[in-house]
């Protein structure tokens, strides 16, 4: 009987440790969890590249915002940039896209956008204050903010078109086209 109790205790301990370890399986230890999901997006007032007038996040309340932290020295950011350009065009004035330049020289950003184009506003973030406010740990990182100003999604890594559609719905142009093809 003593032996049985001993075996059960060992089995119980092993299962407990497996449970504790399993809690961490599937998690990326380098990915910083977002504490902003479900909370109001921190407001900011940043200057757009090449401009002097500040741009405030709160000015866009009433429409969803896609806030993308990026830099020209970040290769995945460049892959993402084309998709964001197209998405900004497709969503038009239904969704506000904003880029926040992360630890990069404005001149380098200007040269990059001159070459690859820019369909949405790029903001300069001195001393990464806004990046710190959003808990940014690396780039690319994007935040999807709903029309009420609440953060609904944080994306660590490249943002995809599919994810944008799942959060924002189909872009108006695409929705119209699908409606037109569906109508007999």
């Amino acid at each position: 009987m003593l032996r049985g109790i001993k075996l059960l205790s060992i089995a119980g301990l092993v299962l407990f440790f497996v449970w504790v370890l399993a809690k961490g399986f599937g998690l990326d230890p380098h990915e910083v969890p977002s504490v902003l999901a479900g909370r109001p997006a921190p407001d900011f007032s940043l200057t757009a590249l090449g401009e002097t007038t500040p741009v405030r996040l709160s000015a866009f309340k009433g429409k969803p915002v896609v806030l993308n932290f990026w830099a020209t020295w970040c290769e995945p950011c460049k892959h993402e940039h084309e998709m964001l350009q197209n998405a900004a065009r497709a969503y038009g004035d239904k969704v506000q896209f904003l880029g926040v330049v992360y630890q990069d020289a404005p001149e380098a950003v200007a040269a990059y956008l001159q070459r690859y184009g820019s369909t949405f506003t790029q903001l300069i973030d001195p001393e990464s204050r806004t990046a710190i406010d959003y808990g940014v740990s690396g780039i690319p990182e994007s935040f999807i903010i709903d029309a009420t100003g609440v953060v609904v999604h944080k994306q660590t890594g490249v943002l995809t078109g599919e994810l944008l559609i799942s959060q924002l719905g189909e872009p108006p142009a695409q929705a119209e086209a699908e409606k037109a093809t569906a109508t007999p």
């Binding site: 990464s128 710190i132 690396g138």
Partner: protein
């Protein structure tokens, strides 16, 4: 004259600066660098860490107490940003488990050693020099050997 007195009253002394820097370093040692994640922001060479330290200094200069400054970063990065895990929720296990496991392992080793000592004691106490195991283990071979030895 009044202006001069006011200026003197609100002047930041070198001692204040030194205290604030000490507080900043202390806070910096508690906060994890988001880039070099094993290092505190007070030691990490990453630009982000330096920006965070600058923010720590700004908040202290605004008169915020150290606990509030630390909480500022926890509100933005979560408990993850603390190099020393908090003692709340699931994190409590991080503090409880190691000493518990150590105590259990120690008890296990002690019990095992005690059993070994008891076996040796019984062996040396036997008049025939043969192990008289009386702990409930059936060993037919040992009993057979003992019978043979006792016959002779």
């Amino acid at each position: 004259m009044k202006t001069l007195l006011l200026l003197i009253a609100f002047a930041v002394t070198p001692a204040d600066e030194a205290t604030r820097e000490q507080q900043a370093q202390e806070i910096g040692r508690q906060l994890r660098c988001p880039v070099c994640q094993g290092m505190p922001i007070s030691e990490s060479p990453a630009t982000m860490a330096q920006n965070m330290m600058a923010r720590v200094r700004e908040l202290l200069a605004e008169g915020k107490p150290p606990a509030e400054v630390t909480d500022y970063f926890v509100q933005r990065y979560g408990d993850w940003v603390l190099l020393k895990p908090s003692t709340q929720g699931f994190n409590l296990w991080v503090w409880i488990l190691p000493p518990v496991v150590l105590v259990l392992a120690g008890l296990g080793v002690a019990m095992h050693l005690r059993r070994d000592v008891q076996h040796v004691a019984k062996q040396t106490a036997s008049p025939n020099g043969i192990e008289e195991v009386n702990d409930g283990e059936d060993d037919a071979l040992i009993r057979a050997v003992r019978r043979e030895v006792e016959k002779s």
